[in-house]
Symmetry: C2
């Protein structure tokens, strides 16, 4: 029997994808479960990635005219009573603050005291509290539009959690805008889903499909929800960002009313849009391999790590001097409009161990430099997206660094797109649909399925089949041509066509 | 009787300082009270100032070797039971989460359901939850030091709140570090209070005194608390940042234990340090005047606002073209290492109203440009720190912008330092102490007092006098020479000397 190749992550993706995901997070030192149920600790390497995501997104939000602001963490319970559909969607599982003090209990411990007159809940999303504030700010059409974003923590009491993908507390941004007309609000909703798609594709190297959600999958209270959907390596879909056109639903519940130019009092039109630390989970599952995390260069906290190699202190002096000058030269290069981010790792550690440390963390480029390389004025380069390392002259490496990183970023995108295209099918009948979404081994399901493009006539009719197979309608792609076909379940004529997939 | 000068803010500082503070916040559009008790909404102009503060501080933290990470919002109640002194200081007034669900109540409203087995509290500060995590991370001296910072929201159930200065929820950063030796931890504590002083003086233009807190004023559980103290314009002190040497108190409570190089198991040495949105309150009270907010140029979201002036559309085209080219030219200038931040305000609004809008918001430089200025290739400049405006040639203005902003930043600092020096006294007896801290009009206290440098022999002996006068010991200044004097209260010989003041 041929010996299996050694991998840094065990199990591999094909052996046990969910467990592989957890092991990549651990090996890359991204996060860990906290002692508080369902909440995670985001460790420095994971958090610096999130900081890079935040910075890029924040620049894009500001370039599209938005400002940041901050609204309260706690929401009075009565606010949630106002918008029935929204409560149904969010209020069920949330953290409820009922007391404002701790006092000693008779057993030497503590107990809650100071009961609040009205319970407060930790925001699961901020439409209600922000809407109540906007109602005070908006008087006239001259006060519109309001274009505000908030970076914040939110909390949803999820029963089953998975790091980055679904946690009780998570970090996100939520944009909340108010407009004088339906048309403007719709344009805003589309503008922001486009910003998300731009970020996903050009920063995360993650191809996405923009589409609209069917009624059952919409944000509670929204007229329309647009989303970006990506295919993970296990062929499941991940909703990576949403942008909601809320119509006048929230403005009516919260009385966001303005005097129009014609003097009439009108309810405003609102939107909301958000992405979260879930994007880190998406990034992990899009690019990582059986050796660990793979970072797209544009988001990598460290783009190049230099590993000095030497036998003794006299060699060390020479090598360190050389790598310091190399670092300086490299940091003067730019990639994607910023200085290249370089780290020298001179920790006292075995060479192999040190190399794998950075492989598992996903650093795009490793550069080894020892006395022999210095003699030849060359460096030994390992690319995280390729198995083989190669020698290259120092000057060629320095001048081509922008090109190499650009090529890596593109190759990650291409590889992810290829995976998606290879696993996207057109399905026209129930049998094929069942086959596509049923693993051969139910006990330990193998990677299977993908995106199925199907005509369908009614969401309700599909309900039981989708529940049975654990499949959802991901979206009606925006760019699809108007076509007529037959429903894969009923054979009825229809023009509705959507992407079906299992999803995170 | 001479007519009082018109001011944009009513009341003035001398008429009613606390109310003036609220009115400046309102006029500058910085924040407002939210519908949630004790919590504020930070509006875009106020938040962009906080973003600039964050960016500068974050760069300083990273330059001193720290990384950011994120820890849970909620802390199990049992964690607070471990460190007795800390609970005493923080657990008393905090938001307690007792349920994780809302369910319909019989009256058509909602009510808490799903009672938690163990109550959770919203972090008032994170020593306990972060310490519990560090206990898992630290095994050996090789794992040390841990140098981590967190940007987060925290909550303390304050009874009397005031925007930015004391709110139930506030934004802050909290550094939490772990070291192998006492010496290293003490150095870290000092390093970070120096970073805060550097930021306060060189970014906020706010002179501060670095000192150590007396035992009664220390952070609950700390061995030593260092702080920076600033004098506000009403001569009260404001503690603007603190850095705590926690010794082994927290590591013992949370079992942060490591194997030392000699093989022995030892408790680690920890520190914590933080500044908050309180700094915005400090900034307002340090520089603002009776016309509103005054921003130090280095932190101003907009450093220059250009106000185009024209009578009709044909003039408008010419003026707008001119100011756009002026903006471009100015944005190529740098000030304090960054591009100059410029805004053109072409809103349809009366000229006077528009000018005062920016005065009240504290924009450092206003530039008016109309057809006559364009003819002369000149601009009309108003500096926020001076009453008079002046004409200047365009080219001279552009080339001197760095010089002007630098001068403004310095002049704000100098003015604040002068105020502090003028209102700092040496006091050697009780009568002078009482006089200094007693307003002439008790019903509506005038601005009075300041910083009193006094020898004292025992904090306990002073307790009732300080309570009576509402005075506190601010700090024992770090740079004070070792001196001997007599206690202002008892006449006893002593070497202890501190700054006494009323404080926020
Ligand atoms: Zn709703
Ligand atoms: Zn304590």
């Amino acid at each position: 029997m041929a010996k299996a190749a050694q991998t840094a992550i065990k199990p591999t993706r094909s052996e046990d994808y969910p467990e592989w995901y957890q092991q990549v997070i651990k090996a890359a030192d991204l996060a860990e479960n906290s002692p508080v149920r369902g909440c995670m600790v985001i460790k420095p390497w994971g958090y610096s990635l999130w900081e890079n995501m935040q910075r890029a997104l924040d620049d894009m939000f500001k370039a599209t005219g938005h400002s940041n602001a901050y609204f309260p963490l706690l929401i009075p319970m009565s606010y949630l009573e106002k918008e029935a559909e929204h409560v149904e969607g969010f209020a069920k599982e949330c953290a409820v603050v009922t007391h404002h003090r701790l006092e000693p209990d008779p057993n030497g411990g503590l107990r809650p005291a100071g009961k609040l007159e009205e319970p407060l809940i930790i925001r699961p999303t901020s439409e209600t509290i922000i809407g109540a504030t906007y109602a005070k700010w908006v008087q006239s059409y001259r006060d519109l539009p309001i274009l505000i974003n908030q970076w914040a923590n939110v909390m949803r009491w999820e029963m089953r959690t998975r790091m980055f993908l679904r946690t009780a507390e998570f970090l996100w941004q939520e944009g909340h805008t108010v407009h004088a007309t339906s048309q403007e609000a719709i344009e805003e909703t589309e503008r922001m889903v486009n910003v998300y798609a731009d970020f996903a594709e050009n920063w995360m190297a993650m191809p996405v499909i923009i589409g609209s959600k069917t009624p059952a999958e919409r944000f509670p209270g929204a007229i329309e929800t647009l989303s970006i959907e990506a295919m993970m390596q296990d062929r499941k879909a991940l909703q990576a960002g949403t942008s909601h056109f809320l119509g006048q639903n929230f403005s009516k519940a919260q009385e966001i009313v303005f005097q129009a130019e014609n003097g009439e009092r009108e309810f405003a039109w609102t939107t909301s849009w958000g992405v979260s630390t879930r994007l880190v989970g998406a990034l992990i599952m899009t690019h990582s391999d059986d050796d660990g995390f793979v970072l797209p260069p544009r988001l990598a906290p460290t783009q190049i790590v230099i590993l000095p190699i030497y036998r003794d202190q006299s060699q060390r002096a020479e090598v360190i001097e050389y790598v310091e000058s190399l670092r300086k030269e490299l940091s003067e290069q730019t990639y994607a409009g910023s200085s290249v981010r370089i780290e020298i790792d001179d920790r006292d550690m075995r060479g192999g161990e040190k190399k794998w440390y950075h492989v598992k963390r996903g650093v795009p480029i490793r550069v080894e430099v020892g006395p022999k390389d210095i003699e030849k004025n060359a460096v030994f380069v390992g690319r995280r997206d390729q198995a083989k390392s190669f020698g290259i002259s120092r000057s060629e490496f320095v001048t081509s660094i922008d090109k190499i990183l650009t090529e890596m970023q593109q190759s990650l995108f291409d590889r992810a797109l290829e995976l998606r295209e290879k696993n996207t099918v057109e399905i026209t009948n129930e049998k094929d649909f069942r086959d596509f979404f049923t693993p051969k081994n139910e006990d330990q399901p193998e990677v299977h399925g993908g995106f199925a493009n199907c005509f369908f006539s009614s969401e309700e009719q599909l309900d039981s089949l989708l529940k049975e197979l654990k499949v959802t309608i991901r979206c009606i792609p925006r760019d699809a041509d108007e076509q007529t076909g037959t429903c894969f379940l009923t054979g009825e004529k229809t023009t509705q066509k959507a992407i079906f997939a299992k999803a995170y």
